[in-house]
Symmetry: C2
């Protein structure tokens, strides 16, 4: 399953996570670079990592999911201007999945936004230098805020047994957290934000470590508490996220994608009263409909575990490219081959079958909605 | 020399260069991720790559040095607002090394800026999403420009024989190009910008490929023309750049570094009439002097080829951290161990000796100016 690997030359330019030493000790074998930080992508047994995630509980170093902190008197106004969603009713302890767009309505990032207090927010970002974007906007708009990257590093605990584990470790109060809501606490003196979130549909939490010197300590506490639940180290799981239809920003999106083309329609509110970046452009997309859609592919080929696409591949109708596939996997849960692609809306609406090119040639695929069921 | 390597999990989120296939065919073994693109860092023989660069000629896939194009009626005004240097006298065909700063004077990037025409500029950028920064600024300022990433991928040809090679391949007119000046041309129909530039002090050019479908073709033409000069594939060379004191943005710089703390004092002009981002903050730094300086280290240890620091390491005076070292190498040219660090100005001015921590313990180092001589 380890095809398409090359060696990574380390560099002071590429940061190590506070959990790096712990993940190496736990057998991390393959990494990606995400927000200029090393992030483990495998511990050498992708199927075993999938099974732990979907049947028991998994722990992931997702410190590379960096926070952009907006703090100061204008924090709310600034966060609202940066987000294409109504934040009026947000309260302390609540998170929301938001689209950040440019002035043309192009999707720049799909963070979870956490409201720490009335004057402090975190955008928990996907792979892009949103710190630059937020600094430019806040300075040019004259918002009275500080935009910074705080010492915050998430550790994800995901899977059907995650809640029992985290409740035992942190306290029963985590059970009452709604999705994307969080609480601040300490564990053995380690300052944490505990949020019901994570990049899977298996349930679980992200423990936002607020002291980068204590990564190994937190990792070891979670591993020890998880032993009786069969916890295993893993990483954001490519197969599970395709099954669950979770967006990989920068992977599934292509240049110029707007949120409607990235499956984020239900998280975008262009007709609210508040002003935000890209509002007029998104109103136009809403009126016209997007030109492309993020869809599932049912691929007519039993490819086994071999096709974990490391590159994008064209989606064809006859000889015309009508889209781009960004993932094709064999699903253990569905016992068939599925994928994710961005495809022209006209082709999707006509219910056309398409072709995708793979390592062994062309395969027929039918289009379906996400998530897979 | 390949210590500190891990495997890189490939992903659609991480782009391949137009030269990727050619570099794999030529034996590229180790990559970094730079501007979300794979960039070769070794072909398996770092000393041989150094010798080719310093004695003959080397070719590097530096497509990851992406361009941010500013085009339209306000292109000049926008480029000036983004650059802390007087661009008034720049003419078509000229490039300049510029600092891009934020509103607090913090260095965000150290690109070469190319003026293609009165209404079209390229920032040829180091590793950061400057496209986001430039889009935010231009939209908020209301500049009548388009900010885009064009289909442009540099291939560097560097070394003492580079000029003869490129003159033979492209034409004798390249010999009269001044540093950072360029011309537009074609080679076998391949559209190119040929610039006297590159991240070494060995002389040479960067061939900016303007058609991403023709990467292998250009690579093969350069390799064939270079055969009689003893050309070898390589990459931005860590040892040579330390010897030459070239800045690695994001590696040598730390959070909050201003251009004066990054060795860019001679490229920053805070007292010009033009308005640009960070002007007042940089005037203040110029008046007060920077608090840190980028310096060379003469390390009192014969470490051989073993110490190609993959992480930053503290610089100590007694038990106090007074700086951060980002590179320690053994220099074949100088036949001694040298490094690059950012150190508190007071320590530099007092002429203090410092200590740097390495894999085998602590080493004494004296501080010197850059470049090494």
């Amino acid at each position: 399953m380890m095809r398409g690997m090359v060696r990574l030359a380390l560099s002071p330019r590429i940061r190590r996570s506070p959990f790096y030493d712990a993940t190496i000790a736990a057998g991390a074998s393959d990494f990606t670079v995400y927000n200029k930080m090393l992030m483990p992508m495998s511990f050498g047994d992708l199927r075993g990592e999938y099974d732990a995630l979907t049947q028991r509980v998994a722990m992931w170093d997702v410190a590379a999911e960096r926070q952009v902190q907006i703090s100061g008197p204008d924090a709310h106004a600034c966060a609202q201007y940066l987000s294409s969603r109504d934040l009026t009713t947000m309260v302390e302890g609540q998170g929301k999945y938001v689209a950040m767009c440019d002035h043309d309505g192009v999707l720049l990032n799909d963070p979870v936004l956490l409201k720490l207090s009335g004057d402090r927010y975190w955008f928990s970002i996907a792979d892009a230098d949103m710190l630059l974007w937020c600094r430019a906007i806040s300075a040019e708009q004259g918002f009275d805020v500080e935009v910074s990257e705080p010492d915050v590093s998430p550790l994800a605990v995901q899977g059907p047994l995650a809640e029992d584990l985290v409740a035992g470790l942190i306290g029963e109060e985590v059970r009452s957290l709604k999705y994307f809501w969080f609480l601040e606490t300490t564990l053995e003196g380690i300052p944490l934000v505990v949020c019901r979130s994570g990049w899977s549909k298996q349930g679980g939490f992200e423990l936002f470590l607020q002291d980068g010197t204590r990564g190994t300590e937190l990792w070891d506490l979670v591993a020890a508490a998880g032993a009786s639940y069969g916890i295993a180290p893993g990483s954001p799981n490519h197969v599970e996220r395709v099954e669950s239809g979770l967006l990989s920003f920068g992977g599934d999106t292509t240049q110029g994608s707007n949120p409607y083309e990235a499956g984020m329609a239900s998280f975008v509110q262009p007709n609210i009263d508040q002003d935000f970046i890209g509002k007029a452009a998104l109103q136009q997309v809403l009126a016209d409909g997007p030109t492309r859609l993020l869809v599932g592919l049912e691929v007519g080929a039993d490819i086994g575990d071999e096709w974990l696409l490391p590159v994008r591949t064209p989606v064809l109708l006859g000889e015309t490219q009508v889209g781009t596939a960004s993932a094709i996997v064999w699903s253990p849960r569905l016992e068939r081959t599925i994928g994710i692609a961005q495809v022209d809306r006209s082709v999707v609406e006509a219910g056309e079958s398409v072709m995708v090119s793979g390592q062994r040639g062309m395969h027929t695929a039918s289009i379906t909605s996400l998530p897979f069921t």
